[in-house]
């Protein structure tokens, strides 16, 4: 199938989300601000939950709100990510498959991204990511060569900078927003900080 490009912004926030809740499973949605085409360009992500991923009400609520926000900001939901609590198991859970199916109904080159906890350590050369795409009515592993992470080294260094400046605590997921609705799940502040770190390296990520 088509190529998938994962932006630094999306990757950084996913990584931060998984790091913020090391003992729970976390999930979120992958967004694109590019027009629909053969290739999928994941330009941003929205971290959703860190508890009770398989319960319906909050998931439905979050999907609806993100949908609305996307139409307000010319973005589309193009995928779903999840990091399992059990580090040694990065296979998609039934709940992950269910949500990915729902996204696939609206976006025919949707991706399902599992974060591989075992590869999340400083100095790891390989992106801790396993991607799936819809093929022959099931979710199949995507060929690694069709997945692009531009400026991988810069991305890693940006993530490290976020940790050392303490900015990783700025990340708000939907769950945290419900605990305190003054917190912004669209993460405008954190996005701005990350974009600042990106721009000297390359204006087009």
């Amino acid at each position: 199938m088509g190529e998938v490009e994962l932006s630094c912004l999306a990757y950084a926030k996913m990584y931060l989300h998984a790091s913020q809740f090391p003992r729970s499973s976390v999930n979120g949605l992958l967004l694109s601000s590019s027009p629909a085409g053969a290739a999928v360009c994941i330009t941003d992500c929205v971290p959703l939950l860190h508890s009770h991923l398989s319960l319906a009400p909050i998931t439905q609520l979050a999907l609806t709100q993100v949908d609305v926000w996307c139409s307000q900001t010319q973005q589309r939901i193009v995928g779903y990510y999840q990091a399992n609590a059990c580090v040694s198991d990065s296979s998609p859970t039934p709940c992950a498959l269910k949500i990915a199916e729902k996204i696939f109904e609206q976006c025919n080159n949707a991706v399902l991204l599992m974060i591989d906890g075992e590869k999340m350590f400083p100095g790891c050369r390989v992106p801790p990511i396993v991607m799936y795409e819809r093929k022959d009515a099931r979710w199949a592993l995507k060929d690694k060569h069709t997945i692009m992470l531009r400026q991988w080294e810069e991305t890693c260094s940006i993530v490290n900078q976020l940790f050392s400046s303490g900015d990783q605590t700025l990340l708000v997921d939907f769950d945290s927003h419900l605990d305190d609705i003054t917190k912004d799940w669209t993460n405008q502040k954190l996005n701005a900080k990350i974009m600042e770190l990106i721009s000297p390296a390359n204006g087009n990520v």
Partner: protein
């Protein structure tokens, strides 16, 4: 690198009191506990009196959480020296082995505690945690059920079991566990709200009505529980939109949903006041509520 007391301008007494508060409320803010506790132990051990032992225990567990085996080891040594035959300290040694993923060794330790004292609940629960860590959910569930037959009042265990069932998508059994918890903790809004979420997930008209009732109950106990408020809104909306309900039921649920909508709008307006960065999330909620109103009528 400056110390905690310098950074935050706190005295050692305040640090000690903070640790106690975190202990009593069972917070798992391990990085903070390590930062504060390590400094307290290194700089002020002599002033802590007998408190030091419980602080060693607290800091040790937090250190394991943060992969600080050096700190965990030194705390454990102090405790072993002071309480050489203690089962409580043995359990801590077992937890350290778990953190190092030496599960067989940990299990041997816990088994030896249980041989000495078959009623030691802490050791039994650690063995179940090991099953969970190894991803052996069905075995963990089975062991936890056996445990609860004997220790039927253990709240923590009931809650752990409900979480396991939720992960396994066994919502009926999860609901049963939450019912136990609600019975013994009738004022806890979180259990009501979780129960409602499970019922909503199970689906079907009867479950949706139950869900709505328990979301409402959670709100009665805590009117700032946003999950309960949204849950009430969503369950009432779904019931009102169902073709199977009577006109009266539909009317009632439209009313409940409308009430929830106004409460949600109010809460978001208050939250959005003056904070520029919230405008996006506030706008998303407003539009969502509007669009759902249209589909309902």
């Amino acid at each position: 690198m400056s110390s905690i007391s310098e950074l935050y301008d706190v005295s050692w007494e305040e640090m000690r009191d903070k640790l106690r508060k975190w202990r009593e409320e069972n917070f798992r803010n391990s990085e903070q506990i390590v930062d504060v506790g390590e400094e307290l132990i290194n700089e002020h051990a002599s002033k802590l009196g007998d408190d030091i032992w419980i602080i060693y225990e607290q800091v040790m567990i937090a250190a394991l959480d943060c992969s600080r085996d050096d700190l965990a080891w030194s705390c454990l040594q102090e405790l072993k020296r002071q309480f050489p035959d203690s089962h409580r300290v043995k359990r801590l040694a077992g937890m350290r082995l778990e953190a190092l993923e030496r599960y067989e060794d940990a299990n041997k330790l816990y088994d030896s505690i249980l041989q000495d004292d078959p009623t030691n609940t802490a050791a039994r629960k650690r063995k179940i945690s090991i099953l969970r860590a190894q991803g052996k959910s069905s075995e963990a569930i089975r062991e936890l059920n056996e445990y609860l037959e004997q220790f039927v009042g253990d709240q923590e265990a009931w809650h752990e079991l409900s979480e396991l069932y939720i992960n396994e998508h066994d919502y009926a059994k999860a609901a049963f566990c939450l019912e136990e918890l609600m019975m013994t903790n009738p004022h806890n809004h979180l259990y009501c709200e979780q129960y409602a979420e499970v019922k909503y997930t199970q689906g079907g008209l009867e479950n949706l009505e139950l869900a709505r009732k328990y979301f409402a109950q959670a709100l009665k106990l805590n009117n700032r529980n946003m999950r309960a408020l949204f849950g009430l809104y969503m369950s009432a909306s779904h019931i009102a939109a169902s073709p199977k309900v009577s006109a009266k039921v539909k009317k009632d649920n439209v009313k409940y949903a409308a009430w929830a909508t106004s409460q949600i709008s109010r809460a978001y307006q208050m939250a959005g006041r003056g904070k520029k960065e919230n405008k996006c999330s506030v706008k998303a909620v407003e539009e969502m509520l509007e669009s759902m109103q249209i589909t309902m009528s």
